[in-house]
Every structure is written in C-alpha cells, then in structure tokens.
Subunit: 333 residues, 2 copies
C-alpha cells in the first residue's frame, strides 16, 4: 500500500470482493433496481417487533447473503466493519451479534458503505485480516422516527427532502474475487454552513466535490477515465451542486456521474422528492446493482463515492450547521 | 503485520506513540490522577453554550495538546480516528472539524480509545498513513442528559452505577516515539443477557474476559508477563466479575489488573459509586497517567483493554440486553 498525492491510497496487491449481498424493502423492490437485490421483503417489519429490530435484521440478512456468496462461514471473517444511522449504531450491534466476528463499529452516516469498504480493504491488504466484511443499513421507519417525526404524524416533506432507503448491503473482501479495490481516499469533514436538515444533498455536495477533486488530482486521472462515478446520496439537489462545483474546478462529470439516490427509485412515480438517502441506499445500490453490473462485465472501472451528513437532532436543535463527508473507493474488474 | 492465534495481530515494525494529550474537568482534577492531565477545566462548560459543545471542545483541546507534544501540525496527520457516546458522534464531528484531517468516525462506546488506537496503529504499520491520530471523549453532563435524566431532575444513582468522566484523550502514532504498539486484538460483541443500564460493569465484564483470555492464549503469555493489565471501565462490580471469570479459566490477574474506572477518582471521597466510565475515562487515564508512567520508565509493558457497552436508550426501552465489547492493545517501551 502506498500513498499518492495528498490523500489517496493505492493498493499494491488489490484486495478483491469475494462476496456481496444486498437486501431491501417493498418500496425499493418496486423501483428500477429491484432485480439486482438478492432478497426483498414485502413486510418491512421483517417479522420483528420494532422498526429498529427490523433494521438490525436487514443487516443480518445482507451478511448472510454475502457469506453464502463468498462460500464462507462467519469464523472465516477476521473483522467486520459496520455502522448505521441509529443512535449508538444499534442496528449493527444487534444485527451482527450472532455472527461473533470481531466487531469494529463505524460512524460515517450515509458514507458508511464507502468507509467500511475502505477499512476492510486496508485490513486485507495489510494482512490484519485474511477476509474482512463491510456492512451498513438504513430503514425508512426507524430513521423517520429518530431524526424527523414518527410516521403517524403524517408530516409533510419539502421538495429537497430525500427518502431514507429500507435496505442493507454487505461486501466481503479477500483474495481471488473478480472485482478489485484499487485505490481509496478517506475524506475530510466539510462544512459550508448548510443548516437545513431537509436538504442533506446540499450539505453533502461540498464534501463530495472536495474528495472527488482531490482523488482525481492525486491520481492524475480525469472523469472520462471511468465507466461511472457514483455518489451516494446527493439526490437531485446535491448532484446538481456537485457537477457545477467540479466543473468550476476543471472537472466535467456530465455523462459519467450518477447518484445512488437518483438510481434507487423512479422519481416520477415513487414520490421520493429529491431522491433516496440513508446508509442503505448507496450500500444497496453498490452491493446489488453496481457489483452485479461489474460481474456481468457491463462496468469495468468505477468510483464509488458515498457521502454522509454528520449531524444529530441535538446538533441541529443547537443551531450547528451540517458538515458532510465523502469517502472514495476505486473498483475495477 | 501478521496474525497470531485466533484473533491477535502482531506488528512487525511497531508503530510508536509520538504525541499524546489528556484533558479533563473539575471532578477529575480533584482525583488522584490530577497531575497527569495536560490541562484541566474548572469550568466544565469550557465557555461554550451547551454540554455537547463543551464535550466537542474537550476533543479539540486534547488533539491540540497531542499535536504540540508530537511537534506536528494538523496537515502532518493523514487520518484521524474518533468517536464518542453522543448520538451520531457529534463531539467528534464538531470538535475536530477545524483540523481538516481525513476523518474516520468510530463507534465503540467506552472501548473507543482502544479501537481508535488499534486502527491508527494498523494505518501506520501498513503505510496507509505516515502519522495517524486516535481520540475520544465523554462529558458527564452530556451523557447524563442523553442516556439517563437531565441533571436538574436530581435522579438517585444505584450503588452499581458508574460516573461518566468529563475528559478526552488523544494519541498520535508515527515513527520514532518511545512507546511502541506491539500487538492488538479486535474484540467480539459479547452478550450474556445483562439488561441493567445502571450496571454497565457487569454487562462489559464478559467481553473483557473473552478478549483478554483470547489475547493471552494467542500470544502464549501469562498475566505476570505484564507490568499492568488495565481495563476501562468495568468499575468495582465488573472488575470483580472479570477477575473471577478469568481465574476460573486459568488466568490469575490479581496484583496485575487495575481498571481505569477505579483509578480516575477517589471512590472513598468522590461519591462515584462503582467507579468512573465513559469514553473519556479510559482515554484520559491512558493518555495522561499510563503513558506518562511509561515515559518516566515506571511501566514498560502493559495491556490496555478498553471496554464498551453497545446500547442505546431505544434498545434499552425495547427490552434488548446490553452487549459488551473489549479491544486490547499491547504497549511497551
């Protein structure tokens, strides 16, 4: 492993994705990427007693699929990196408890899929783990209850609001898989003063611009060198801001960029306003759709740039702005 | 880096601690380790408008001291691993924002100091970072408000309850320092069914026993090979359970073990019931007292075994038990 430029890591012996699993709820199963999920649940309680337990169950299922896909048992996995949006990351704690894999809780808000993937890749390349897993989740109902209002209140959503995905994604890294982790970049928390919790896309776009700019600069590559640059989840508002900002700084992402929040749902028909969000959105899109396309040879060379909004209801109520963060992972076949 | 036994990592070129900082509040400054803190604050608001902002300020100050101690500027640090007890880890986000260091949020509850230290060490040994920082914090007032009751309610505490420390600790890892990171172990989340949030020590003791047993087994060492085995924070109840459990499993820690939660306060005079707790307790004891003693040559070879209780108020209200986790780091001069 070596550092190139200011912030980018280059993997000398690229770790590979040996298994992946993506599971989702009913609304996601009605969207354009439905066929790419390994499992979907029409009953989004997943037969549990609470939305929080349902979300934990999503992680458990995603890991189970990924383990099967990698033909591994839990004992084969030396470390699991996991996190979610719930207070104290309880979806991860309780969802993964039964697996008894050494557990390293991560908090990157909706950037968690990229953060956990990057950590797992570093563990495998460095020899700290032969195989390491990365997993995250979100659930519309647990997120609404915690961050906004309980669903029963029927609160109205603004046009800039995004829809928290009910989904989970897991990858298992090791040797011998088709998709390789080539480079990674850990992002800085970036705060340009956006304070509107119903406009997370705008809050996270500066972080995405900063990390993608730095990555392209460090590697001396340009957007057209990639089959796709996938952010997650800026939605419609944040994506537009990202493209404008990067264009002003010399990188034109048009035609190459897409956003997991814009891919997961049909915005014309599914009433998700500015798009999808939540850790499970980019995790589900990566571990279902994107890795599926890479395995089928439809994509060979992509950047996965998950973004997170680092806030809580308390920081919000105390008048703090919403810092964003974006971690970048370069995947090739 | 190589794996030995089932779960332990051995660092081939041990990363070293090139700087450390520990800061604390008034109660900690009245305790037996007062002289070991680099800075203490008589006004525990730290001149901020809320307890949450005060806790963020603690992290900022601890990093500032550690940077000065390491003669580094923030740009010299390639990654910072940070986490805390507040929802969505806002003390870390807001406390570290100004430093603009690539940010990897961690969630390990009160085990965070060991988890961040282990991650930072792996980054330095693997070449992912030349220098990496690890930091965590807790604040009595922000923790009471979030997890228990606002202070103004004057709720009564049970004898098994622990006192959340107002403190923060930071280490900076790189090359050339006196204290070396020799081994590490990432722990499993362990749940033996303890449900009492006023008895965290009992909830975490099984995880500490599991990780320490595994570490000693993997390395083929015995407790007497170490100058000290420091858990944090089991308090009086958890420490007693740990010693009993390990004795039943062939390892006698008596005379070698101490617990950061029992060291930080004078339990006779300071009314902390079963001892200290909170991420800042073990972080403050490590980054102030223990590393100070290692630098002065009073300790040469220790295990730092921070423990965390992986729960939230929601998981508690929904009847879940409290899983514990314990990560182990072996430090020598």
């Amino acid at each position: 492993m070596k550092r190139i430029g200011k912030q980018t890591l280059e993997f000398s012996t690229p770790p590979t994705i040996i298994g992946h699993g993506a599971v989702a709820g009913r609304k996601e199963a009605a969207g354009p990427l439905a066929a790419d999920f390994h499992q979907t649940f029409d009953d989004t309680t997943l037969n549990t007693q609470s939305w929080e337990k349902a979300e934990a169950q999503l992680q458990k299922e995603a890991v189970s699929v990924a383990l099967g896909n990698a033909a591994c048992s839990p004992q084969d996995i030396h470390m699991i990196f996991a996190g979610d949006l719930l207070n104290q990351c309880i979806s991860s704690t309780f969802g993964l408890l039964d697996y008894q894999i050494p557990f390293l809780g991560q908090y990157g808000a909706c950037s968690t899929m990229a953060q956990t993937l990057l950590m797992a890749a570093i563990m495998v390349e460095s020899g700290a783990a032969d195989r390491a897993a990365a997993v995250t989740s979100s659930h519309f109902c647990s997120a609404e209850r915690q961050f906004r209002t309980p669903l029963e209140y029927g609160a109205q959503r603004t046009p800039t609001a995004q829809w928290t995905a009910t989904a989970s994604g897991c990858v298992i890294l090791g040797a011998g898989g088709k998709v390789k982790v080539r480079h990674g970049l850990a992002g800085k928390a970036t705060d340009l003063g956006v304070k509107d919790p119903a406009n997370m896309g705008a809050a996270m776009a500066p972080a995405a611009a900063d990390s993608i700019f730095q990555y392209l600069t460090d590697t001396g590559t340009s957007p057209k060198d990639y089959d796709g640059i996938f952010t997650g989840d800026l939605g419609a508002v944040g994506s537009s801001l990202l493209l404008d900002t990067l264009k002003d700084n010399g990188f034109d992402l048009s035609g190459v960029h897409n956003d997991c929040g814009l891919m997961l749902y049909d915005r014309e028909k599914q009433d998700v306003h500015a798009g999808g969000s939540g850790c499970g959105c980019s995790a589900g899109v990566l571990c279902g759709h994107l890795l599926g396309r890479m395995e089928r040879g439809e994509l060979r060379n992509i950047l996965f740039c998950a973004t997170g909004a680092l806030m809580s209801t308390t920081s919000q109520q105390q008048g703090e702005a919403i810092p964003g963060v974006c971690h970048v992972v370069h995947l090739t076949t």
